[in-house]
Symmetry: C2
Subunit: 373 residues, 2 copies
Amino acid sequence: MTRAIFRAVPPIRFTIRFPNAATRVWIARGALASLGRETRRVTGATRVVLVTDTHVGPLYAARARRALRHAGIETDLVTVPAGERSKSIERLAGLWRRFDDAGLSRAVAVVALGGGVVGDLAGFAAATWLRGVPWIGVPTSLLAMVDSAVGGKTGIDLPSGKNLVGAFHQPSLVIVDPALLATLPARHRRAGLAEVVKMGFACDAPLFRVCERHAAALAVGNPAALATAITRALRVKTRIVSRDERDRGERTALNFGHTVGHAYETARGYRGVLHGEAVAVGMCVAARLSVRVAGLDPAALRRLERLLASLGLPRRLTGVRAIALERAMRHDKKRDARATRWVLTPRMGHASVPQPITTRLVRATLLDVGARI
Amino acid sequence: MTRAIFRAVPPIRFTIRFPNAATRVWIARGALASLGRETRRVTGATRVVLVTDTHVGPLYAARARRALRHAGIETDLVTVPAGERSKSIERLAGLWRRFDDAGLSRAVAVVALGGGVVGDLAGFAAATWLRGVPWIGVPTSLLAMVDSAVGGKTGIDLPSGKNLVGAFHQPSLVIVDPALLATLPARHRRAGLAEVVKMGFACDAPLFRVCERHAAALAVGNPAALATAITRALRVKTRIVSRDERDRGERTALNFGHTVGHAYETARGYRGVLHGEAVAVGMCVAARLSVRVAGLDPAALRRLERLLASLGLPRRLTGVRAIALERAMRHDKKRDARATRWVLTPRMGHASVPQPITTRLVRATLLDVGARI
């Protein structure tokens, strides 16, 4: 049975090394209880600002504070509204003010307890406070566990686009506690799986096959299946970001599906579509383009669509016009002076160097997957 | 005569190497005319956002744009109000919006044409736009030429303190054109000399002696004397920042005089006192403390005060209460959880590791140099 297959997922500890930084990663059920001890050990902090949001705070902030207090660490708690809209200049300035009120000096640290939004916002505030103080990620969503919590990309959005403002600032420590997924709504859990599928399809075919083989268990949130997927995805991500911290080469593969994904979120005003759902549809667009211009086997596209379907993820755009997506893509940060560049997959598990694609072909593909004229 | 002594100051080109970056420095009278060619050569940019202020823009923006245009580089001009108050969240957000309007992508660059405020603000905006785009410093004040333009410290102020928010982001290129000093008001020129004196007193006794020997020529703005001082100061700064980019060791020596200096500016609301003037007084405080607790020869303190006097720089605090300075120091970023730490000079040209000093001794010294009770 599925449970038997996945039973042995032991606690895992590893370190991601970068030219000027290192991230300790600690994956274990119940790891949240070690937050204080690990924070003390890695950063030496005796005081932290704990940043969370209105969804996660009521569930886990008290446990996080308790773990910190047991290690002799004082906590200032900052709770921001849940949702992408908190990645704003105003919230960033609010965090800076709170850091100032807390007397946050170079001797202390920031803890981000939440999903990708909290990590991006709190990590960027840490990157820019006193020109950089340490931060610790405690991802609570599957998406953050497998993707955004490691790699050091932090930032905020502008009204015209996501992540236009930000910094590379590696967390000193990332604590991945799969037990926290028990409270994650099923839809958010499925959305997180989209990033796992992405890492498989664009970077690591064995990971994609694991997802295919255990799609049913993943779809219903089997904890051991999730723990396996998280661990494998983090290994893939680690391999890539440690070789290309600043996103100038190999790491661009991780943007597979994100050109349309980000544009879809922007065009929808971040309403009604989760990031992972937008990436799922974005992958379908990128894979179709890959079939058309990069020689991807159409069978691979069909496998991708089938896997997304069995994970309960969307494959089609809804409620959006092609022209709105195109406008948003022009604002995407991967644009150069002339054209948006696309990460394509000549074959499964292998991404190409980002390349421009003709507006006409993009338009046709967007219409194919459901954009309105 | 002075002129003869300084005649031979040839154009100088060198590169400052950091673990992950490099800054080309180009010092020459008339170097502004090469801005376009050098920008193209170093960054490959074909489009820049040129950031300047309301004082410098009318004097030099047209020449800068012409130089850029001759190299085939398009320019978007952004002019911010002159003065420290432009290092604000609002101006930063305004620059981000302008970058967005200009379609500023990773293929282009930011040029900061102005003094320290413009460099800090534009450099920080460049550091955080798309997680870092290249920037070029064209310092127009003596203070920026000798100090802030190299080393990659960028940032903005909060109402409660200077440079609380920022990043390390090395400029790709710094163009130092001493001819631009012709339009710098004498008071600002003298204030810039305070940072040269600081580098001598805290890091390089030969530089201090050069300042002493040619104080009269420097005080009246002799161009050759200034060019010599700039070149020597930049060499000292280069040596220090290339060994300690992130300000964790040797580089803290450059904060000599800045603990009180920053607090003085804050307590005065950045009105009526220039940064260099505040640093001059701050050095007098730090040197007095050095005599009291670090074994500095009192004769060195007297030489410092005499040199500052002959350069027309203040040695005493005016219009400020000790308690206001102490409050501002507690907000200074060099504070740790317990106490402000001071850079002291056990002997001229040598700074100590920053250390706490008792409140009582600091208070007594502040009163000695003119703070009101």
